[in-house]
């Protein structure tokens, strides 16, 4: 019987180390002679640097060096534009340390390297910087008005990108519609906030002539490529390792100034250098996300069928656009969600402001899109007096309509094309879970009669996951009885060591204990782009499957020769290859690996007796076309994204006196194609939903009109705790993806996408007697009270 590994809730192989305190995060690394760095950051949102005097700081005992822009040698060039886009007509990136201008509070101005972190921080205070303040641009609506102050004077505009996407004939659709409804919808600025901040340790190894960099990054390979190019080193002379990383959620997929500065300091000083971001720094030096202001309208016929959607929005890009316009582009492409929108006009301007730059945070433009679309759908239902579930049903892309083209180019340059799904079944299932009919018919009227404000909310979403360009995997079977699987994708908690081992175990039919997964170390795998966009399981998982299949073929071929049978007559079970129907005629993978390598010197392995046999062929020990190992490297490059989807329902109660909210139920039906490990998938959904709850109620980064962040600490920026996140009920629906060898779709961001939309829907319903409509997120108790007061005025 073949062993099934896919679909099993295999316990995580990464856990014992982490549970016993033996994880290795960047700040845990301690090298002999290591120095410590701290960054002096701008206290102003927008200012000209007149003069920097670091002489006092340099003279402090224990200070080894102070770097300013002029000291950066090859790193004096601008940081690269990582993802260009034709619509991004005015890109702007920063220098690793500000040259003559700072554009947000927190921008790095100088780097101190000292014998201890404490001394380095002392030295920051001894650096004198003269600034000439410039007018700060904070409000993005004002920033696009004529005559507005400019973030980057030389660009002549605050508009970094102006994107227009048109599908069908929206003008006609709107002209002919029975009804048109408009909304202004806002999602505020937020940030990923992993509990581990960023950190880097860099050291030049003079014996191997290698620059080794431990980095809490989601993309070690791209960092390696960038550093090698910048410092004129061969690719193999730079090793970037993402060790254990304490959460990323998007903000660690970037090329940050410190990722240049710390390696550069290590090279110049010839000693290892460590920098660990502190939490306050993280608020002002690590990228943010979310703020968008949408003016959206929907055109429907008399039955609530969508004829067209028009959405024009502003996207806050922050001070620089290193990551291009990925976030608003995803918003634009994903806005139609699971619904057929035959005529669609979407347009955005990405706007500079003197705030921390914006790049993806879990969800990456999708929570915004889902919020807009679901608000519009709810509005249609409410205005037409239709059931909210019914309006969704009427507009879903149907199961027989895949592949379904939205009509726009997605973030990866491929078409926005849904590959599979069953949206009606997904909604039906969640309605059943939450007992929608009974709630609406019996429960809610009874509660309303009691004077309680309890509402039910719905939200559906799709998520383009598993995008290209590609990832690869290397699989090697060793005579020692181990299978080594290496990929370029590092994890930040997503259980790659477990799920990729499951894939390899299933493909090879070996016990999972035999498999060792190596990830996030460029010395082990050097091609690929990183962990983002819910793509690991899809892209790296598929690459592992393909590589394992190749190795399995190699092993079968060798075994067939050894056993003098046809490879087609062989089967594999539990790591043993044998002749079908004659299990005693066979050998293990480990023996096959030994056969592959005609080399003596093996320790007493399971394969040892094979070595003493004369080889059964003439000619060279390693015949042409054969390699001395069972190993293969394969790449998987998806034709386009594979589309996961989900439907959520929640019941919540609002206390109109306090504005406080209590969840009664929160149900999720989720379709990420074939599930590799249901336990891991559910964990991803739980975590995403918790962040969604943060986005719906608590998480908001606030700047004052001078561009000063006013809540840059965990005291003031609230992350949901265990009492704010309700129990989450999950059901899986599996419509396998036809695009990849495993049939999987991504799940990393799923939970974070629909929650603001879901909560808004439920609050509207709970407060229906008061006529409240939620149009912005997050919504804390005081804002909710304000809404209630306004509606009852």
């Amino acid at each position: 019987m073949p062993t099934r590994m896919l679909g099993e809730p295999v316990k995580r192989r990464e856990d014992p180390r982490l549970l016993t305190g033996h994880g290795r995060y960047v700040d845990d690394i301690d090298l002999p002679g290591m120095l410590h760095a701290a960054v002096l950051r701008s206290p102003y949102a927008h200012a000209q640097i007149e003069r920097i005097d670091a002489s006092t700081a340099r003279a402090l005992e224990g200070v080894v060096a102070v770097f300013t822009y002029d000291d950066l040698g090859p790193a004096r060039q601008r940081m690269p534009l990582l993802i260009p886009n034709p619509a991004l007509t005015h890109p702007y990136t920063r220098y690793a340390l500000a040259r003559d201008e700072v554009n947000h509070v927190g921008e790095g101005v100088a780097l101190v390297v000292a014998e201890s972190r404490y001394v380095a921080e002392d030295a920051l205070e001894a650096i004198r910087v003269e600034y000439q303040e410039l007018p700060p641009v904070v409000d993005i609506e004002r920033a696009v008005e004529p005559g507005a102050w400019l973030v980057h004077e030389e660009l002549g505009t605050n508009v970094a990108a102006h994107y227009v996407g048109v599908v069908g004939d929206p003008e006609r659709a709107f002209a002919q519609a029975a009804h048109v409804f408009r909304e202004r919808l806002v999602i505020e600025r937020s940030a990923a906030m992993p509990i581990e901040t960023r950190g880097i340790v860099a050291a030049w190894d003079p014996y191997r002539e290698v620059l080794r960099v431990w980095d809490s990054t989601q993309g070690p390979i791209v960092i390696r490529n960038a550093l090698a190019a910048l410092f004129g080193l061969a690719p193999h002379q730079v090793e970037v390792i993402a060790p254990d990383v304490g959460g990323g959620f998007g903000c660690k997929i970037m090329f940050y100034p410190e990722e240049v500065l710390i390696p550069y300091a290590a090279l110049v000083l010839g000693r290892p250098v460590k920098w660990t971001e502190d939490r306050i720094e993280h608020f002002i030096a690590t990228n943010h996300e979310r703020l968008q202001i949408h003016d959206a309208e929907i055109a429907v016929d008399a039955e609530g069928r969508i004829l067209g959607v028009r959405d024009i929005f502003l996207h806050d890009a922050g001070a620089y656009t290193p990551y291009g316009i990925i976030v608003p582009q995803i918003t634009a492409c994903q806005l139609p969600g699971p619904y057929k929108v035959p005529n669609y006009h979407v347009e955005f301007r990405a706007v500079y402001s003197n705030t921390v730059p914006v790049s993806p945070y879990r969800g990456a433009g999708r929570p915004h899109a889902c919020f807009v679309m679901e608000r519009l759908i709810d509005r249609v239902a409410d205005e037409l007096g239709l059931d909210r579930a019914e309006v969704r049903r009427r507009n879903f892309v149907q199961p027989d309509e895949f592949p379904y083209d939205v009509g726009l180019v997605f973030q990866d340059g491929a078409p926005t094309r849904y590959d599979s799904g069953d949206y009606p079944a997904m909604l039906a299932r969640v309605l059943e879970m939450v007992d929608y009919e009974r709630f609406v018919r019996e429960e809610q009227p009874r509660l309303r009669a009691e004077g309680r404000y309890v509402g039910i909310g719905l939200a559906c979403y799709v998520e383009g996951t598993g995008i290209g360009p590609y990832e690869g995997a290397h699989v090697r079977i060793e005579p020692t009885g181990h299978v080594y699987v290496a990929t370029g994708m590092p994890q930040q908690g997503q259980a790659h060591k477990t799920i990729l081992a499951q894939v390899a175990a299933e493909e090879l039919q070996v016990p999972i204990e035999r498999i060792v997964v190596i990830e996030g170390d460029t010395a082990h795998f050097g091609f690929g782009s990183g962990t983002y966009a819910s793509r690991s399981a899809v892209v790296a998982g598929s690459a592992v499957a393909l590589a394992a299949r190749r190795v399995r073929e190699q092993a079968l071929e060798l075994a067939a020769r050894e056993l003098e049978v046809d490879p087609a007559d062989l089967v594999v079970e539990d790591g043993r290859i044998f002749v079908r129907g004659a299990p005693e005629r066979g050998l293990s993978y480990w023996e096959a690996a030994q056969l592959a390598n005609p080399l003596r010197y093996a320790y007493g392995t399971e394969a040892s007796e094979l070595l003493s046999k004369p080889r059964p062929w003439n000619g060279p020990a390693l015949p042409p076309g054969r390699q001395p190992a069972l190993e293969a490297t394969e790449y998987y490059s998806p034709p386009h994204a594979t589309w996961a989807s989900g439907a959520l329902a929640c019941i919540l109660e609002v206390d109109p006196g306090t504005g406080m909210i209590r969840f009664h139920r929160l149900c999720v039906v989720h379709d990420c194609g074939r599930v590799i490990n249901p336990m891991v998938v559910e964990g991803q959904i739980h975590g995403g939903i918790a962040q969604g709850i943060g986005g719906a109620f608590y998480e908001r980064i606030v700047y004052d009109e001078n561009g000063q962040p006013v809540n840059a600490s965990f005291m003031d920026f609230l992350i949901p705790t265990a009492v704010e996140v309700p129990p989450i009920e999950i059901a899986h629906l599996e419509t396998p993806s036809p695009l990849n060898p495993l049939g999987v779709k991504g799940v990393g961001e799923a939970g974070a996408i629909p929650v603001p939309a879901l909560v808004a829907s439920a609050i509207d319903d709970a407060l229906r007697p008061l006529g409240v409509r939620v149009t912005r997120m997050p919504l804390g108790p005081s804002e909710l009270l304000e809404l209630i007061a306004r509606s009852t005025e």
């Binding site: 549970l19 290795r24 992993p194 304490g246 959460g247 005291m715």
Partner: protein
Amino acid sequence: MSAEVGAGSAQRRAIRVTVNGVVYERVVEPRLLLSDFLRHELGLTGTHVGCEHGVCGACTVLVNGEPARSCLMLAVQADGLAIETVESLAPDEERLHPLQQAFWDRHGLQCGFCTPGLLMLLKSFLAENPSPSEEEVREAISGNLCRCTGYQNIVAAALEAARLLREPVAG
């Protein structure tokens, strides 16, 4: 028994701290945080630092049996006290503490960064309240931030650990 040490390092103080049953005598700067002392002086990097301002709970250790945020304490304040960190939880190399086992079984961690703090907090919580309700567990851990798990499996793990601790498996 702390003392000022030497003229050249007038500010440095000698301290004697018991960590995981081992007595350490060190001379430290008064401003050195207990979290930094544990991590960087003693190399016990299982205790993590997520905020350094007392909110996230990642740095939670037990001080004389009581949970404390090691980022809010100075090493000199730990002079004469007994500290327990996550490294002391498992009885030996082979076995896990019931809390660790339950976290593993119930998928109570993802990135693992918040985990040591939660384990130490829960160790003391379950000692005081061996049969907590789900609500009580949620309340108890509400001072520890986890950005990965949504807490559901942490709560499940805590309840499971409580069970395991109440009814230790025979043998």
